[in-house]
Structures are given as structure tokens and as C-alpha cells.
Symmetry: C5
């Protein structure tokens, strides 16, 4: 339930722009990391403790990337927002982790919300983390909900910046934001592979040994895909608008890269829809296999009952205690009856063979 719907009722009735964090606080302390590169200067990365420290970056020609891990301390977000002239509604959205992916263009900067997805090996399910990105002329700010070690999809971007020779350091903030979005979308393929494996397992199970758990498995996969879909569909529009909108913040030469991300997004959506169709096909098969098995059970019952009930009836007749029952006195009466019973038995078997029940 939790993943498909986030509580936000605590916010009901507050003025718009009221900064209240909605979500599960994952971190003890927010962590701010500032990258600076471009121009003559070398690439620098440093952790800063007071947000105020980093605001000069706005007016410098170098490119600054401020990554904020954790969004639960409203006052820090507010300080950053106020200094950079970010609209109060944007700050409110950053704090609220139940956003739908979206893009908003404020001329001076573009605000983007995305979902990073991680695969939780333990529970075999998808987990999401909200990422807010602000693209300015000379700066990019990213807000992540948490920073579990070894899980950050931005690491690959960091490595490339440090390398110093990558295209990233030679180009502007638009290429940086592209790289970040690309890293997020690329990671979706990892999630899809996990789903792919689960669906393959499921198909295997369906053929070999469908059980009641199989139904639960199908249901869970369906829910996870519903969840995935909810985050990926709006992404399509986000990337498309980023590519097509007329804004000075995105250079023409970056557009082609964004188109590439767009293609990937379409591919992710395509695969999700294919998965959904496959799972719904599997449900049909599961239901048919239940019916088939019931048929099998019924056949066994019917064969046994149909063969033995008439025979038992015959035995019952000669078990009656009438004073005058001529057959009972016959020398071979017993054997004749046994013989007749055998005939009936064989006849029944042949009948069932003909009907293909045996």
C-alpha cells in the first residue's frame, strides 16, 4: 500500500508554500556536497556544513553542482531556496516526497522531480527515492531523500567529473543535468532485468508446478509493475518537454542527448507494458490450470464411482435375505456373478478409454 499511496494529510489546510517535510526521514543529518568545475579551474569536490558557504557560486562562471542528501530539515532547504530565489512552491515540493515526476520552467531555472528506483534484494521489490533537480544557468542543485552507501546512481556521474576528461566537464549545466537524468533512467534497466528474471521464474513455475503461492506471486508482480509504471509514465513527458521546450538553459547540441534519454524512457515504458501483458496472460494460464486440475480430480472420482457403484449394487442384491432367491442355490451362482461383475468392469474401462478419460 505504502508505495502506491503516500500519506500527506498532515499538510491539509496549511497555506501553500508552507515548508513541511512529508516522507520517512532516513538520514540523521542532511549532507551537502559541492562540485565546481569548468573554466580554468580544476574539478573540486567538498562537503559543506553551512549552506551559506556555497551561495557565491551563483555568480561565478564555473559550473557548480550542489548535491543535497536528505530533505527533512526544512530550514536548510529554505535557506538554499531563499538565496537562489527559488519559488516557495518549489521548496515545498522538494520537501514533499510524494511528488509525481514533473517539470516546471521558471525562466531563471527549471525544476524537475524524478524517482530513483532501487531493487530491494531482500523483499524482491522496488524501492523509490525522490530526486529534485534544479537547473540554473551556472548551477545544478540536486536533492536526494537518502544516501544509503553504495546505492547512489549519481556515483557514475561523479566518477566522470573527477576523471576531468569527460564531455561533462567541457560542457554546461544542461549537459550535467542530462547526465544525471541519464544515470537515473539507465538504472531503470537494472530494475527491469530483475523483473525479467522474476517473470521467467514465474513462467517456469506455472508450467512445472503451479500452487496457491503462484497466484500471490503474480499478484505481487502486478502491484510492483503498477508502482513502476506510476513513476515512469510521467517521466516521458518530463524528458520530452525538457528536450522540446524553448528555454535558454538547454543548448541545441544537448537536445540530441536528451532525445537519447527520451528513447530510453520509451523503451522502459514499452518493456513495462509488455511485462504487464505477459503477467495478465499468466493469470489466464493459472486459472485454466486450476480448472484443468479440477477436471482431473473429477475424472478420478467419476471413474471410481461409476465402476464400483453398479458392482456394489449387484453385490447388495445377493446380500438380501429373501427366503426364496433361486440363484443363491445354483452350484456356480457365485462364480457367474463374479464373472458378470468382471464383464461390467471391463466394459466400463473400455468406455472410459473411448472417452479418453484414461
Amino acid at each position: 500500500m505504502d508505495k502506491l499511496f503516500t500519506r500527506r494529510s498532515e499538510k491539509t489546510g496549511l497555506a501553500p508554500g508552507t515548508l513541511i517535510h512529508i516522507g520517512d526521514r532516513k538520514l540523521e543529518r542532511m549532507k551537502l556536497t559541492l562540485f565546481e568545475y569548468g573554466g580554468e579551474a580544476d574539478v573540486s569536490e567538498r562537503e559543506i556544513s553551512i549552506p551559506g558557504e556555497c551561495f557565491p557560486f551563483k555568480d561565478q562562471p564555473t559550473i557548480s553542482w550542489l548535491n543535497v542528501d536528505g530533505v527533512h530539515q526544512a530550514q536548510i532547504i529554505e535557506e538554499i531556496g531563499t538565496n537562489l530565489d527559488i519559488h516557495p512552491l518549489v521548496m515545498e515540493d522538494i520537501l514533499n516526497t510524494s511528488q509525481r515526476p514533473k517539470i516546471e520552467d521558471f525562466d531563471e531555472y527549471i525544476y524537475i522531480v524524478l524517482k530513483m528506483l532501487y531493487w530491494n534484494e531482500e523483499h524482491s521489490e522496488v524501492e523509490s527515492e525522490q530526486v529534485s533537480l534544479i537547473l540554473g544557468d551556472t548551477y545544478v542543485i540536486t536533492f536526494q531523500e537518502g544516501d544509503e552507501a553504495g546505492k547512489d546512481v549519481f556515483d557514475s556521474v561523479r566518477v566522470r567529473i573527477h576523471g576531468g576528461k569527460s564531455r561533462i566537464v567541457k560542457r554546461g549545466t544542461d549537459y550535467l543535468i542530462y547526465s544525471l537524468i541519464d544515470a537515473i533512467v539507465d538504472h531503470y534497466f537494472v530494475i527491469l532485468e530483475h523483473f525479467g528474471e522474476q517473470i521467467a521464474d514465474l513462467e517456469e513455475e506455472l508450467v512445472t508446478d503451479p500452487s496457491t503461492d503462484t497466484l500471490q506471486f503474480i499478484h505481487n508482480l502486478k502491484r510492483e509493475l503498477l508502482f513502476l509504471r506510476k513513476y515512469v509514465w510521467p517521466l516521458r513527458e518530463v524528458v520530452s518537454r525538457l528536450e522540446k521546450d524553448e528555454t535558454d538553459l538547454i543548448e541545441e547540441s544537448t537536445s540530441i542527448y536528451l532525445r537519447d534519454v527520451y528513447d530510453h524512457t520509451i523503451q522502459v515504458i514499452d518493456t513495462i507494458e509488455t511485462f504487464r501483458e505477459m503477467i495478465s496472460g499468466m493469470l489466464d494460464i493459472y486459472l485454466s490450470s486450476i480448472s484443468n486440475r479440477m477436471n482431473e480430480v473429477m475424472k478420478v472420482l467419476t471413474i471410481i464411482a461409476t465402476v464400483f457403484i453398479p458392482l456394489t449394487f449387484i453385490a447388495g442384491i445377493y446380500g438380501m435375505n429373501f427366503a426364496y432367491m433361486p440363484e443363491l442355490q445354483w452350484r456356480f451362482g457365485y462364480f457367474i456373478v463374479l464373472f458378470i461383475m468382471a464383464l461390467i468392469f471391463i466394459g466400463m474401462i473400455i468406455y472410459f478409454r473411448r472417452r479418453r478419460w484414461l
Copy 2:
């Protein structure tokens, strides 16, 4: 039924613009409350008894918000409408509580119909109240069907106006109308949370102990969502047109706030659709679980019948009264037969084990 379809046949055949109230009269008396603020003046709130009292507000520079609780007294609505040059069709719509959410632009003013939703704890269902909003240059008029104590979603807006420092009092009627719509839409999330809880309960019940009531539960949830959806889908267009239409009544700076409401609306719709898909998935599971249980029942029957019917047949044979049945005279005939029966019994059990029925 009632919620999904409102009777309005009493209106059939009347001239358009004929003012007839359609709906359940909830209030004894209509209640008019007038807020005035903006300019130099302090915020004032007063209840007025004669509509005429409040009409000077139209030409004053201050911002006036007239809230009308109850819409069953046609003559009061008419008086208000006539004084403010409201189109007769609008007055007709205000009185008719079976409207679909919609927006109409009359240049001089904009007319909006929305639905406030409340959660009825007692019956675990959603209740709706129609709200008509008229946005003029210097005034806002809102018409609510009823005013059950402690339930009005506009209360949060009232508090903020009284506070006097909120953004509301500093801006025009467009921001006020935004605040009112935002309050209504925000409250939808509360409704969604109730649904979320019910769906979680349902999932729990499905796994642990599905009963015939579960089906009724699923059906009721489905109906409630149908109802919710009917009121929320058109809302999307209402807010979108309010944001995008070229009208002098909405300032540019308010547009971004309306976009925020629009995002919330999309989120509500998204969640409703997700809920619908989940519920339809649950119906599948429920049906499968019925089939599965039938399978279980059949298996028990089949095992018992298949094991004992042949044995009973054998007993029947030696219960026959033929004069000449050699086995009957054997010293250990009885025990041999018992032994054979035991063998058959064990053979059957092994057979069922192999078929995984045991």
C-alpha cells in the same frame, strides 16, 4: 445509487433559467457570511441577513468574499444574482446540486462548480457537497449546500485570512479563489487515505480469510471509487482551463499556484486509477481463491470416495448369501480379505501422495 445519479426529472419541461432547487435541503435557513479585507482596512467577517446589505461590495476596491451556506431558497440566490448581473443559467446551476464540475467564463466573472468530499466514518463511504464559486474582479462568492459543524474545508482559508499576514490578504481575488480550490483538492487526499486503508484491509482479508462478505466489500469499494472518479476527472479540466485561459481575472503570478493545484489533481486521479486497478486485481484473486477452495473440497471428497468405495465393494461381495462360496469357509478367509483391503488402502494413499493430493 443515489450518489451516482441524482434525480432531476422534476425540472423536465421548465424554461431554462427557471430557478428550482434540486437536491436534499440540509439547512433550515441559508446563512450568508461576508469577509472584507485588502486595502487599508482590517479584515472583517460578519454574518448578514439581507442579501441587499452586501451588494455595495461590488464597487469597492477591497476584496469581498461572500460565503453562502445552503442553496435551497431560490429567491435569495436570485436576489444575489440579479444584483451582480449573474446570468440566469448560472443561478439555475447553483440551485441544481447535481452538476458535474465545470468552469464557465463570462468575461465579467468566472463561474466554477466543484464537489467537496467528506468521509462518512459511520458508513465508511464518501459524501459530496456541491460548491459553486463565482470569481469577480473584486469579489468572490461561494455557495455551499450545507454547513455541518466542524466539517467545512474552507475553515483553513478563514483562519489564514484572519491571521492577516498570509499571502491571501495581500493579493487579489484570484489568489483567494486559488486558496479555496486548493483547500478542496487538498481534502481529497484525506479521502484517498481512507480508501488506502480500506484497500489495505481488503488485501489482508483476501490473504487470511476471504469470505462472501469480501466480495461485497470489493464491490462497494469499486462503486465508491466510481463515484469519486466521476467528480475528480472533470476537475482536471476545470483547473487546467482556469490556469491557461486568457482572462484578466487571473494574474500571471497566480498561475503558478494553479499549476500546483493542477499537479495535485493529477496525483488524485493517478491514485484513483491505481486503486481501481488494484481492486480489479483483487477480484481476480478472490475468484481464484474460490476456485482453489472448490478444488480442495473436491479433493477431499475424491480421496475418501476413491479409497472406500472399492473396499466397500469387496465387503459387499463377501456379504452375498450364495450357498456355495468357497472363500467363506477358508480358515483365514476373513483375515486374508482384511489384508487385501489394507493393501488396497495403502496403495491408494501412495497413489494420492504421488499425485500431490495429500
Copy 3:
């Protein structure tokens, strides 16, 4: 079948514009009624027998409304059409009562086809009557299939014209046509109420006592809604185009009234779709209730069979006639066996209780 598909094969192969009546002739004689009003003159209503009588109206400044009941006399339709320069295809369409609702703009006049719907109490089903409307500059002509007494939805318009004070008599033909369409659409709500009641009955029946008739009932409702939908969906476009098309025949001030009709049409469509969804949900419930009942039946069978078959087997054993069966000679053999049987019986009952079958 009839309602969903009208035979029109008799027309196959004829030249376009050939005037042949298609439909069930309901009237003995066509009836022409002419209303004249507007200008200085009083409102006049008179029945005319020779169509020629009424043609001067075309060039008079007053507003003329010619209502034609019955469309089976091709030569009368032709006479009217020729005198007013109506396109032959329009005359053909007027005669053919299997039209889909549509609108056609011929500059000089607008041709509209609609369906009036009546509720047939006797068969609990919807009946339709085709109405053709021609909107000219100074005249409106309406063609109805029949004129069953007390059923005409135009009566309310007639009353208002006679009243002489209604907005109708003060305005042009565009307002008259609006009034007529409004009267038709308003009547759809009456039909919807009948459906609403039937669906409520159906829900009641489903919960209390679903029978084989219930399925037939569901099926019939579904078909009736299919039928309704077929006539209402195209209406939406008709009204929308009437409102939006640039034509000199519709004044700006009438547009807002047409928008109101448009809103009603949307509401009708909305309700139909909601009804359809509810009915399809009911089918699911019906099917589940069949399965549930089968489960119940199976359980009873299984319990009885499972309890008594083993007991009967035991009785069968001691009914065998072996010469040497030591238990038979025991003093309390009989009572011991009875006691064992009782134990088995009680054990079975406990087992079924645990499985929740009892």
C-alpha cells in the same frame, strides 16, 4: 434486435435523393402544425392541411415553426422541401428513420437529426422516435415520426410560446431550436432515472436472491444501455458543433444556452458510462455468487459422503459371511463397533469444523 439495427436494404441500389420512407408507419395521416409569433403579431397556432398554405412564411419577418407529425408521405415532405430549397439528400434523410444523430450546415439552413427517447413502462424498455430539425433564418421545421398522445416532449415548448412572455417569443429561431433540443435532452434524464431504478432493483436482487433471471435482467439492461449510448454519443458532437460553428443562424447570446445543453449531454453520457460500469461489476458479482453457491453445494455433498462412506464400509465388513470372524462372537462386538463408528463420526465433524466447512 430491432432497436439496434434498422432494416434499410429496400433502399439498396436506388439513386441518392430517392424519397422512400424507411421505418414503421405509425400515423394514418401526417399532421402539420404552424406556429407564428414575433414582431407585432400575436402568437398563432393552426393546423394546416395543404403544405402550400404555409410557404409564404419564409419571407415574413415573423418566426414560423412548422411541426410535422409523421414522415411516411414522401410527396408532402417533397413539397415542403422543394418550396424551401432543401437539398434532396436532406429530404431523403428525413424520410429514413434509421439515421444517426447528426448536424449538417447548408449555409442557408442547418439540418439536425436527433432521437427522442420514451420509456415504455409495459416492457420496461426505451423507445426512440427520430426528430429532424431544420433551422432557417426565419423558420424552424421539425419532423417527428409519430404523435402518440401525451408523449410529445415538445409540449413544454408549446406551452411557453403560448404563454407569450417566455424568452422564446422575444428571440429568434436560434433560441427556438435551442429550446426544442433542450426539451429533448432534458427528457433523457427521465429515461436515466428509470434506468437508475432498475439498477437499484438489480443490486437489491443480487444481494438477496440472485436467480437465473437475474442474468437475463443484467443482459437486458446492458442492451438497453448500448442502445441509449448509440443515440447519445453522437449528440455530443451535434450540440458542440451547433455551438461552435461559425454560422449567422446562431446568435452569440444563444451560444451560452447551447453550452448549457452541451453540459447536460456530457452529464447524460457520464451517467450512461457509469451505469455500464456498474452493470459490468454486477455481472462479476453474479458469476462469483454462482461459484460460491456451487462451493456450498459441494461442501454439503463432501461432508455427507466423507462422514458416511467410511462408516458404511465398516458396517459392510461385519456384514460379510465368513465362517470364521472372531469379532462376531464377542459379547460386546456390536457395541464396540457402534462406539468406534461414533468416534469416527465425531472426529470427522471436528475435522470439518477446523476446516471451517461447518
Copy 4:
């Protein structure tokens, strides 16, 4: 299968424009018929053997309609095409009878592909014949696959031309092509009537006596409708483009006739979709009726088994051969047991009555 998919693999790998006939050759020899009318001249119709004979028509002011029956002789098609400057791809398409209805505008001429549909009474199924139409300034050429006697839907057009007074002979090629398309579409209504009858039969059968054949019947109807739909849906676009495209070949005054055909096409599509919905509703009913009947069977079994199994058990007890069974010696033991059995029997019957199984 055949109707839903035509083999065309023999063409794979050939150069575009290669003239190869794809389809079942129906005729021994192609038949060319030339109509000439318009201007001063009388209407003339003659069969021609050498295509070359008829090419002068291109430059004559009269209107020529060349109808070609049979499309299997590639060289004749080629000769016609080359003389009239028809694009090689068009000639290829004429020969290939597996086309989808389509329209192509080549400025000089318009190429249209349609499907004529015939009802095969014998197999109760629809048969199709491909018709290619080329509309030039002064000529119309039509290519039909075959010419089974008495089946040609163009006959009605021929009759009207011969009449000499029809609108056809007074107007240009655009009106001729309209007449031909109209004849084809009109004939679809005949097909729909056959379907209507079959669906009515099916409904009757479902209510009175559904059998396994009913399912096959439903399935066949579904397939036939799939087939019909495949040919009619694209037709909509063909007629719409013919009406709306800017081309000198269609006069304004003919547009209104094409709009009429367009309306008919919509009506055909509407009816097909309605039929499809009805058939899918019938499948639901069929499946429910199977379930209902299974329920009936189960009930009979359960009642019999539940009533007699306990009684048989009691009889079994008193059939045991224990030496000491006091009841057996009672004077009225037998009658007491019979009485108890009767009580149980009656009790069971009452129980089943209460459960509404009887």
C-alpha cells in the same frame, strides 16, 4: 483463416512495381466494358476486346467509364496503365487483391481501393471482392476481381446511366465515382442485416437451448465481424479524405453527396461495433449458463447422495452379522428402523426445501 490473411509471400523480394497477380483467379478471361455518356452523345455501352481500342477516351470531353472484370492478366492491366500514365505502384496494387481499403491522390487521377462484400448464403459467411477505382478528369476505371452473375453491386448504377435521366449522366466523373462508392457502401447494409438476423437467432438459442454448437456459432460470428471490421474501418478515412482533400477532380456540389456516404460509413461502423459488444455479452451469458447448469447437476447429485447415503449406512448396520445384536430380535425392530429412515428422509427433504435446492 483465409479471409483474415492473404498469402502474398510469393511477391517477397521482387522489385516494386513488378506486376504479379495475387489472389484466386476467378475468371477465365478478363472482360472490359466501356460506358460513354455526357455531352451531346447518347449513352453507349460496349464490350471491348483489345484495351487499345478504348484509350482515345482520355482526351474526349464525354465521360467514359471502363469497367474491368478480372485482374489476373497482368499484361492487360499494364497496357491500360501505360496508356493512361498510371503509376507502376498503382498497377501493382490493382493486381494484388490483398489490399487494405485506401486512397491515393496523384494529382492527375485519384486511386481508390475498396472491398465489395457479398453474403454467401450457403456457408452463412461474408465474401469479399476487391475493387480498384481510378478517377480521372474525364474517365473512371474500375477493376473488379470477378463477375459472378447477378451479384454485381454496380448494376444499379448501370441501370441509372442507361435510364439517361439520372443525375449521373448530367454530371461529371466525380458524381459517377460517388455513385459507385455509394452502391458499394449501400450493399454493406444488406450484409449487416444478415448479421442482425444471425445475432437474433443466437439470442433466441441462448435463451431456449444453449449447446456446445452455440459457442462455435458465437465464435464464428465474432470472426466474421472481425473480418468485416477490417474492411470497413479504413473505408471511413478513404471517404473522409475524398470529401475533404483539395483536389480539382471533385466538385464542391459533389462533396455533400460524399458526406452522405461518409455518414453511412459511420453508421456501418457503429453497427459493427454494437454487434461486437452484443456478441461479447452473449459469450458471458453462455459461460454463465454453463456454470448454472453445472450447479443444477451438482444439486441433483448432492440431494440424492445426501439423502440415501445415511439411509444405506443404517441398513448396513443392521446387515451386520454380530451374534449379539439385541434390536434384531425385537418384535417391531424392522418397522422401527423403517420409520426412522422415513423420518430422516423427510427431514432431508425439508432441509433442501429450506435451502431452496428443491
Copy 5:
């Protein structure tokens, strides 16, 4: 699984434009073949080993077609790309064989990705091979994944070029690229024919002898069609954009040929959708046939049980050992009971006949 989802996680986190091959390496060595034709020169075809050899072609007036078999050697692709100024993202896409069909216009050249489909007779399934096409002013480059002997769909194009008289050698690169795409799409019809045969087999099997394998067969066909659809749907847009986009690379006279390919694509999509509908109809029939068969089984069981259980009960009664049972002493008691049993038997048979169970 494999076909519906390709692993690409190994690429996650790499910089865009990083050339890494994704796919199954099918070839030992890449093979480059260069065609040159057009102008005065004869058609020449030669295999080249060093990519550098062929780059002069860019500036020659003749038309060059470089076909590359195998895409696993990144450095060769890179060399080609760099020399022809191909964008790094395009080179990355060429190496990645999990692309969706798409088209990208880079002004200087157009990049197209398509899927060639082959029918694997052995496993009765579809196999795909990715083809990348680059259309320049004077050159066309095609990249294929593999070159299994006798399977290349481009062979027909090669033959036509060698012929030297085909339209291909007289026209530009746009006609060449059309010919290549046409060859690919034409081959889809071969695939569809295989499906058509399988569906016909399936229908046959469903009617004559549906088994559990039938369900698996249906499921497999469904999956294969899902796969097919995934590759064909985007193709539609690719061809449509190639035809409609304003680019100097495509001449007007080639557009009509592309429109022809577009028509074929629509036909392929149409057929796939028809197949999908047919298969889903078959699943319904399969499920109904399971239910029907269960009904049959139940009827047999019920008839046997219902006939013999009461008879056995009667036999049981007269098997009781009561001391005083008057009937037992009757002279014809036994025969009277046999007669009564026969009556009951016949009565039952008549009852079942009436109910149509026999």
C-alpha cells in the same frame, strides 16, 4: 523472456557515447561489403578488409552502399563513424542491439534502426536481427548483426543492383534505402504467413481435440505476437516520418514508394492485431470447452450415482438381519423387489432423458 527484454545493465553508469557492444556476438569476424554504382561506372561489389579503404566514397558522385555484417568490433564501427562524421550516440546505438525501431534526422544523414525478422522453423518462433541504416547524400551504410547463410533479406536488392537495369541503379540513395526497407517489411509477410498457419492449426485443434498443450500453444502464440508487435508498431512512425519529414535526402518522387511501404506496414500491424483478437477469442473457447467437459464428467457421475444409490439402499434394506421381516418370507418377495428396482431404474432414465442429460 530473452526476446522481450534484452539485458543492458552492463552499460549502466557509462558515459553516453561509450562504444560497447550489447548483444550476442554471432560472427567471428565482421565483414564489410561495398557496392558502387551510378554515374558512368559499372556496378562493382567488393569485400574490403580495412574500413579506411572505402572512405573516399563519401565525396564521389557515384552511389556507395557499404554493408557491414556484425557489429561486435567497436573499433571498426568507430573508425567508420569518425570518418563519416557520425554522431557518437549513433555509433553507440549501432553497437547496442536492444534498440527500438526509430529514425533520427541529423541533417547531413538520417539514422534508422529496424528489425529484420526470421522464422525459426525448428522452434516455431520468430527471431530478430537489428539493422541500422545510415542514409547520406551519396552513400548508404547498413549494419547487420549477423549473416547466416541464405537468410539475408537484402539479397533480393543485391540481385536487382547487379542486374543493372533496375530502377535502383538509376536513382539516388533515397531509392536504395527505400528498397532496403521494403525488403525488410516484405519479409514480415512471410512471418505473418507462418503465424497464420499456426493459428489455423490451433483452431483445428480447438475444435477436434483441445488438450492441456493447447493452452501452452495459445500462450506461446500470444507471446510471439507480443514480440512481433513490439517491433512493428514503432516501424509505422519510422516510415511515416521518413516520408513526411522535410529533408533534402529524400526526393519527392521517392515519397510515393515510401507511402507504399507505409501501407504495407499498416497492413502488417492490422494483421497482427487481428491475430491477437483471434487468439484471445480462442482462449475463451478453450476455457469454455474445459467447463463443458467438466459438465460432461459431472453428468456421468451424477447419472450413475443417482440411479444406483437408491437401488443399493433398497438392497441394503433386505440385507438387514432382523428376526421379523415379513417380506423376506413372501414367495415372490425377491422378484417383487427386483421388479420395483427395475421400475425405479426406468423412471430415472426417463427423468434424465427429459432433462436432456442422456
